[in-house]
Amino acid sequence: MNRIVKAISIFLVLIFLVAVAANRQFRIQDSKFKAGANELVIFHAGSLAVPFKQICEEFSALNADVRIVREAAGSRMCARKIADLNRRCDVIASADYTVIDTLLIPEYAEWNIKFASNEMVIVFRRDSRRANHINKNNWYDILLENDVAFGRSDPNADPCGYRAVLTVILAEKFYNRRGLAENILAKDRRYIRPKEVDLLALLEVGELDYIFIYRSVAEQHKLRMILLPDQINLKKAEFADFYKTAHVNVTGKKPGTFITKTGEPIVYGVTIPKNAPNHELALKFLTFLLDADKGGAILKRNGQTLMVPSTTDSFDRLPECLTKYALPVQQGGKG
């Protein structure tokens, strides 16, 4: 009997301790943030992880009572969290503005602002195989060598994945090498990963020698890189017509269906979902992000260029205070 009493009292003490700890935890959060009233939840593309961390830090420094929660994932995964999981967030920033257009508008969001550009590069380590020989004119031959391993991300999960495919397809045309795209895309399929930043670890441990990735990520991680010609790096608007000649199929809304992605310059998009819990704060954050001297400067330090104002289809539905960061679509000229 005595032992039972002892066991029960130990158990009760444990419960008491847990309750005290939990209570304390809640009280801390309450007093500081008034039960989440000043919480800002941001879903963003993996490639924005470094600049957004810095932007959020500066934003919090200016707004001391705000608590920011960031979640990085593949851009399509971010949209899925809202559309399928009914997760609520205040800001979603995608590595491809079309992800917002196709997966979120009109049901979960109303508008879309194009805010930053990027370009495709190939990164490597100092001791990558053939690192001393590779350059912008022979990279495709080196990638095809047997003992060289390269990685790219999953075209179905991540914009960087289908952009890598588009770059390779454009390279075949640009360097005039028949069959090049097919050969490169058939090789090293086992190194395809869900998002481009997952590949960095594989590069670091020496499993991979080269990866297709965004220039901004390469600069943030101070990696060696090969800059590709503007005709194939998906950066320049003036080559949009050439980019358009490349197509890739990615999975559609259900397994077995496909949608065709056509090459176009890399443009990041950002929006506030309709059911954002903290709409006011989200607007405040976006005016910070889209300001050339604030968010724009941080993006620049991280290898990305702010590109506001740009045209957007949804200009009419933009919140008043954000209209200066976008342009209405001109008649006849789209995107």
Binding site: R190, Y191, T251
Partner: protein
């Protein structure tokens, strides 16, 4: 009768109610997943080649990992059950390590020894295979997280075997290997089998470590995650239901095989 004891003692009623809550906690989410999944969806998923090959891959890689590592793990657990040696406490602790470390960390740790730039990775490459992004890598990741279940179950099994039987056989002139193979292992086979089943099941359900070593070829837990990311809940759910069903069938079958003795698991 056990049952009447339950009725007379109110305390046990409370215990039973608490137990019911725990059971509900396990069963309710699974039930809701099954209920939310329509038959046509399931039939369509069943015809999906990608799904079928991934379930098959998951079953056989985990099975292979279990069998390969059993060759070393079973004799080792015998040693743990019978012999005392210095630092034995440390060794048993190390065996349990994979249970407590996060599996994503396990995957990262495995990278350190299996990637192409390491000795092991380079040796494998010379022999014409690799670990990262291959079924060998999947096996390694599965084995890493699941081997404690086998070692612990087998050790407890050997502990339950009467040592006097082994001594008698030794005194009658049988060699230690023969005693091990004809006395100890047959007498402990039920716990060993349930350990094998546990290891196999644990391997099949592994996600974190495998995801890091081998995203492709896709085992089913990874496929479920990928389907969720690329197509949403609606298309991830039938795959999950299908995989859980397949696992349940095998699990129940093998569990029945190993029935009859208290399963020694931790």
């Amino acid at each position: 009768m056990r049952r009447s004891a339950f009725r007379t003692e109110p305390l046990y009623l409370v215990f039973a109610a608490l137990g019911g809550l725990v059971l509900l906690f396990i069963i309710a989410p699974l039930m809701s997943m099954f209920v939310n999944c329509s038959l046509p969806e399931l039939a369509e998923t069943l015809r999906d080649n990608e799904v079928r090959s991934s379930i098959w891959l998951t079953l056989w890689t985990s099975m292979a990992a279990t069998v390969i590592f059993a060759i070393a793990a079973i004799p080792f657990s015998y040693l743990l059950a019978r012999k005392d040696f210095p630092l034995k406490g440390l060794v048993t602790g190390i065996i349990d390590l994979p249970i407590v470390i996060p599996h994503s960390a396990a995957g990262i740790a495995l990278f350190g020894v299996l990637s192409r730039s390491t000795l092991l990775g380079r040796a494998a490459e010379k022999m014409g295979f690799g670990f990262v992004g291959t079924s060998f890598g999947i096996m390694a990741a599965m084995a890493f997280v699941s081997i404690p279940y086998l070692v612990n179950a087998a050790r407890d099994g050997f502990l339950a075997v009467d040592e006097r039987l082994e001594k008698a056989a030794l005194n009658l002139g049988a060699g230690p290997l023969r005693v091990f193979l004809t006395i100890s292992v047959p007498l402990a086979w039920r716990p060993i089998l349930s350990g094998l089943i546990l290891m196999w099941a644990r391997g099949m359900s592994e996600f974190g470590a495998v995801l890091i070593i081998a995203y492709r070829p896709m085992i089913t837990p990874v496929l479920i995650y990928e389907r969720f990311g690329a197509f949403g809940l609606k298309y991830a759910r039938p795959v999950a239901v299908l995989f859980v069903s397949v696992c349940l069938v095998f699990f129940i079958m093998l569990r029945l095989l190993a029935k009859g003795e208290k399963v020694a698991e931790r």
